[in-house]
Assembly symmetry: C2
């Protein structure tokens, strides 16, 4: 067959060793925190039934979902109905069900909901699960937006306790501290406060419009938000109520006091204030970065009903949100299991990667693979070296023997390209004295030790 | 929208917490070994261009590949040509290219080959990579065969050194020993020996037929193999040469001696013997389970050219092969990069899981999530408990506080279902004395310690 010049599908990426090690470092840090907090691992299949996913992400989601073609006879059978459908001028995107029964998952939440409703009787509630898997979206690729990307989610379902909110904020705090990130912000709000605001304007029916507009404040500024509110049907007086609300400032306590005055007549609003006060002031948890009450935080997704949270990267990197989540009332209603509420958070791995890269926060260990390479100086040297390589591996030190007795130069160059810090030399003179030379490639230090001393040698 | 009863696509699985922990334990053990031996991580996208995959796995592979439907306008554009193609009675499976440009990866080898040829100038050769990702095949689902399953591969490319063969066998040895498996067998052979055999029969042109037939010996027995050889065009005398070869027995050395006599006239066969002798008798490596020369080992895949290996599960579990691999001459020729040879191995995670399960070899740690749960006995108790939970987490101990002040009975039942071994009780009497009770749920022991003593308490 003809040779082809290989390429990657648009919007997808290979992760080579250097990138993989850094990504693994981030994911492992998140995974460990999830586990320390009692969250349990779940993995669901890449494919879901089309029915499971359709209609869950709006029209756009249905469009951007990657559908999987039926195989074999099941595909062939579609020929007749498909021909008929084309005859009637129905666009192919609308007759997908004729030849595709499955699609790639679009997020981790719907598969999680499906799992919970299928396994409700086996699960100990509350069910605390974490899930770290890729999702696929046929978005137009652009800088920082890919068609395959990992989501890292933790959710507690089956519990209304606000302790869960505090725990999830603490997971953020734990992870970003472990990653050495300073100056990030945990911004929280409560959807019920926004409901109270909508009531205050006299337009509770426009809650979604108000939320959507407020959500853009960061990006487009106050004037444009006001314009948008107007376009969405709010009057001057109503907009000024919203503006006053958005301008609330000060410490968390000052904001809470001001909110209590403003929303005194709204039971929903007051409930939101009570909830967020507990989260901020329970005194149970010690945060390294105290969560900030941000009344302008709205988050687009419609299904949030309680606390919402967003993590902002340090201001020095202009990357924006690196995580977010919130409480929802009904996870599994659409799958026939009502009354399952929950709260969840998500980490944006790609953006966290960019932040750590920009701030040079990846530790040495996340940038190293093999620690020690033994030069291959011919059969006599190999005979001594090989068991020593195995000895180091047995102690958990990644070690290699160069694969052939190439020129020293070539072997050193390989070690250099692989960023291997230590080289061990077992040349004729070393062998004669039962010794070896250990060379540190970056600081250029060289030591000679006896072979027996290798076991105690500190490869730092 | 209507509620739907959710289901999973045929042949796919959810991995709930208990299974995930055990799978993670297996994968982590394999990953650590790969890293200790200097292999580097790689991940490629789930989707590849259809052109990258087509024609690489035979007709069957092309059929069983999951293709991904084009999106949006690119799909709609297919309407006219598709209508024409249906008109001409071309089956839809044969006009897939009209509406699908991508497919899910079918194995990890072709994506690896694509990666190597696309990045040849950046890679330090030899390139040692490992890759642990799911692959997808539209096989008819049956016991132990799934449509989504993980492959765990390690390959060295760009080196002909037989040291690589020894290293890869040692990885098997290391992993299966870490997993506590006894009685597994590392069976090796060399494709050049089989070539020698084909020469010996006088039918080198039938090498593939001979290999395919021999490969079935385990399953169908000698008589059926002989039948199949006959069907494949070999005469009685030729078959008896093959039978004599297959009956070679004894120790590795005895087999090697016998082979050397048999294949003395075949330079290729003798080369194979030389290679496998080095792997078995170099004296460099100490195996916990000495590799066994198995002249009947053939392995189906056509592209092997040197050593081949298969790992057999212990005879007490009737599961067969739990890993395999071999040396190949040309990884990337089809992608326009000739001369890249390599050798690789693969672990069968699903089967290893079944073996460990059957032999009850999963350690306690792979079956536990949270180690300590603090009972929730109301606000006063929570105020003391919460910081202590955080203290344990800070020390790397997975700990939880029950989410609400439910009845003790309910909380204990939850801990039991979650298999949490330790319960901490901070009741009124404990609080009054600055103490806590720690109860071990399986051995029923209970201890009372002061709060200050928690830091030193050993949760085993």
């Amino acid at each position: 067959m003809a040779k082809i010049k290989p390429s990657l599908p648009q919007g997808t990426r290979d992760f080579g060793p250097a990138v993989m090690r850094k990504r693994n470092y981030i994911m492992q840090t998140i995974r460990e925190a999830f586990q320390l907090f009692g969250f349990q691992p779940l993995e669901t299949p890449a494919m879901e039934q089309l029915d499971t996913l359709t209609g869950k992400y709006g029209d756009e989601g249905d469009q951007l979902m990657f559908k999987i073609l039926n195989n074999g006879e099941s595909l062939n059978k579609a020929a007749a109905p498909l021909a008929a459908s084309i005859q009637e001028n129905i666009p192919l995107v609308r007759s997908v069900r004729l030849f595709a029964e499955k699609a790639l998952r679009y997020d981790l939440t719907i598969p999680f909901a499906r799992f919970v409703s299928m396994n409700q009787h086996e699960l100990a509630m509350p069910f605390k699960r974490y899930q770290m898997q890729p999702v696929w979206r046929a978005d137009r690729p652009q800088k920082g937006r890919y068609r395959e990307f990992y989501q890292c989610d933790a959710d507690v379902v089956g519990s209304d306790s606000l302790l869960n909110e505090i725990e999830l904020l603490l997971i953020y705090d734990t992870v970003f501290n472990k990653l050495g990130l300073q100056g990030y912000e945990l911004r929280v709000n409560n959807r019920k406060i926004l409901s109270g605001l909508a009531e205050l304007t006299g337009r509770p029916d426009l809650l979604t419009d108000i939320t959507v507009a407020i959500d853009k404040l960061d990006k487009i500024g106050m004037d444009k938000v006001k314009e948008e509110l107007q376009q969405r049907g709010l009057g001057e007086k109503e907009i000024s109520v919203i503006e006053n609300f958005l301008l609330i400032s000060g410490s968390n306590d000052e904001k809470l006091t001001r909110l209590s005055e403003l929303l005194a007549t709204s039971p929903t609003g007051m409930k939101g204030i009570e909830e967020i006060s507990f989260v901020l002031n329970s005194g149970l948890a010690q945060f390294k970065a105290t969560p900030i009450l941000d009344v302008t935080l709205a988050r687009g997704l419609n299904y949030y009903t309680g606390m919402i949270v967003e993590v902002k990267a340090p201001a020095t990197v202009s990357i924006g949100s690196i995580g977010g989540g919130g409480r929802y009332d009904d996870l599994t209603g659409l799958f026939g299991l009502p009354g399952i509420s929950g709260v969840g958070i998500s980490f944006g791995v790609d953006r966290i990667y960019d932040v750590l890269e920009q701030l040079e926060l990846f530790p040495e260990a996340a940038q190293q693979s093999t620690k020690v390479m033994f030069l291959n100086l011919g059969d006599a040297s190999v005979k001594v070296a090989f068991p020593l390589v195995m000895q180091l591996r047995g102690k958990g030190i990644a070690a290699e023997l160069y694969h052939e007795a190439a020129k020293m130069d070539k072997q050193m160059k390989y070690a250099d390209r692989r960023a291997i810090p230590y080289i061990v030399i077992l040349g004729e003179s070393e062998l004669a004295e039962n010794k070896m030379s250990i060379k540190h490639l970056t600081n250029r230090e060289q030591k000679t030790i006896t072979i027996a001393e290798l076991d105690g040698f500190l490869f730092e």
